[in-house]
Structures are given as structure tokens and as C-alpha cells.
Amino acid sequence: MSRNEVEVLVELLDSAFQRPIPDNWSDGWHSLLSNLRSVREEDWDWLPADGVRTIRDLASHCGRTMRVYAYYGFDAPEMHWGEENPPAAIRATKELLTPWLVESYETLRDTVAKFNDDQLDDPRETWDEGDFRPRRWFVTTMIDHLLYHAGEINHIRALAQKNDE
């Protein structure tokens, strides 16, 4: 059973999230955790002019989405949209949310890593009844999703800290 494609996807997922392991081959410029590192607690709920989403909203959204996609795409523990996830107490600070984010990432990563290349095109029903996507779609979307919101987080942080350069 070939696993070349799965391994590439897992590496890209690691890089997008930056799992803190020594052999991670990205330096994490664009990763979610790298971009959260320079966020101060006072930036957590800061909003730019005409903005609606805080860094807390975006980070929570990333973690929640990884758990939902892991369930629908890769048989991880059941998780649906609309559930209070993470609980409000965990969302309160970056310090509290970060371990939950790591747990969300590990849930997705560990389930994806169990599959082989032949299974990446298996159709899976999403949360929309009758909407089927290949397993591959669930992980490629999550890789892009983490990077995309890391970019948004970086921009809000730069505006909050007045160092958009």
C-alpha cells in the first residue's frame, strides 16, 4: 500500500500548524502556532476598525474546524458544527486555548496518518446531506484553512500592535 501522498499531506499539515517537534521540516513562518506566538493577551479580543472577527474567534474557529473535518473525513470522534467547542472558559485566553488547539490538530493529524493513498479518494458525506467529497478534500482544505487564517491573524496582530510592515 503506497503512503507517499498521505505522507506529503501529513507533512504539509504539520507545517501549516507547526507541531513542535525537532524534525519538523518547516520553520513555520506561515503556521498557525507561529503566528499566535507574538499575539499578546491584550490582542486576543482586539478588533480593527470595521472588523468583526477577533483573533480569539479565528483561533477557536481553526480548532473547531479541524475536529469537525477529522470526524466527517477520517472517522475521528464525533463532532458537529454548532456545538460549544471549545467551552467558553477555554476560549478566554490564548494560554488556555493553545493546548486545546494542539489537541484539535493532533486529532486530525493522527487520524489522517492512519490511512493510505488508495483511501484518499473514498467519498465521504459532509455535514450537508448528499454532499460527498473525497477524503483528500477534508485534509487539503484544512491545510489551506490553517494558513489562510494564520495570515488573517498576523494582519490583525500587526494592526493591533501598530507594526504592519
Binding site: 505522507e7 473547531r64 494592526l159
Partner: protein
């Protein structure tokens, strides 16, 4: 020699740059679609980096990585930042982005999986595996697409949460 890993990276590279099928949300070109010509030249309120500067940087990075990792390594950032006299329109910039993407992609397309762990020299002189270099360009496009989306949403007063979430 297998190409499954290369093909997966090419797929990710292409979808980071432009919409593939109905996967449109996070790509660089998709996030430029809703940017007006006026907004293209603007930064977020109280911000410094304009959308044109970020887009310029995304195109220039593809050309720098192509030249330094796969070519003679003589191209400079200054040459690329002097590519335009004045500020390009969004249409002109997208054309340049497409050229830059095609140049970088064309260097990855002939590789096989064995080449992905071959080390190449990055624009700053350090040696990195080829797969790392390709991953940087994938990440770079999507990361800056996110930044562009945020700036556009703030300028157009349309920042909002996903409807299925929260």
C-alpha cells in the same frame, strides 16, 4: 520512480494559487477577485501594507525561489521590485502573478518523488530539501490570500463570521 508525492504537491500548489473545481475559498487569485482597483492600492485602516504590495511580494517570491533554488541564483529582490514603473493595475499584476506561478510550477512538474529530498539553495543561501521549498510557496500564497481577504473586508466593511460556525 513514483510521482505520487510530486503530483500531490503540484495539486496543492495549484489550488493555493487559483480556484480548482469548487475549492475556491483560500486561493490567492480567488481572494483578489473581490478587490476593486481602488482597494488594490490601499492598506487596511491604520495599516501600512497595501494589497498591491502584498501581491507584488507573492509574485516576486515565486520568481526568487525559481531562480535561486533551480537556476543561476543571480536574480535580486531589487530587480523584481523595479519590475514596474509606478503602480501596476490589478489586471497587470495578476498577469505577472500567472507568469511567476507558471515559471515556478514548470520547475517542479518534471521531478519525481526521489527529487523531493534533494537539497537546493534558498534565496538567502541556506540549503533546504526541495519539498520544503515547494511547501513554502504553497503556504506563502494561501497565507497572503488570508491577509488580502482581511484588508479587503475591512476596506469594504464586510468582515463577517462563517454562517455555519458559531
Amino acid at each position: 520512480m513514483t510521482r505520487a508525492g510530486v503530483d500531490q504537491l503540484l495539486y496543492m500548489l495549484d489550488r493555493a494559487f487559483a480556484p480548482i473545481d469548487d475549492d475556491v475559498e483560500h486561493s490567492l487569485l480567488h481572494n483578489l477577485e473581490a478587490v476593486t482597483e481602488d482597494d488594490f492600492l490601499r492598506a487596511a485602516p491604520n495599516g501600512n501594507r497595501t494589497i498591491v504590495q502584498i501581491t507584488w511580494h507573492a509574485a516576486a517570491a515565486k520568481l526568487m525561489y525559481a531562480n535561486h533554488c533551480f537556476g543561476d541564483g543571480t536574480l535580486t529582490w531589487d530587480e523584481l521590485f523595479n519590475h514596474w514603473e509606478g503602480k501596476p493595475s490589478k489586471t497587470e499584476m495578476i498577469d505577472w502573478l500567472r507568469e511567476a506561478h507558471a515559471e515556478f510550477r514548470g520547475l517542479i512538474e518534471p521531478l519525481d518523488d526521489g527529487a523531493l529530498t534533494v537539497e537546493r539553495k534558498a534565496p538567502w543561501g541556506a540549503m533546504h530539501e526541495t519539498r520544503w521549498i515547494v511547501a513554502q510557496i504553497i503556504e506563502h500564497d494561501v497565507y497572503h490570500a488570508g491577509e488580502i481577504n482581511l484588508i479587503r473586508a475591512l476596506l469594504q466593511d464586510t468582515d463577517s463570521r462563517p454562517t455555519f460556525d458559531e
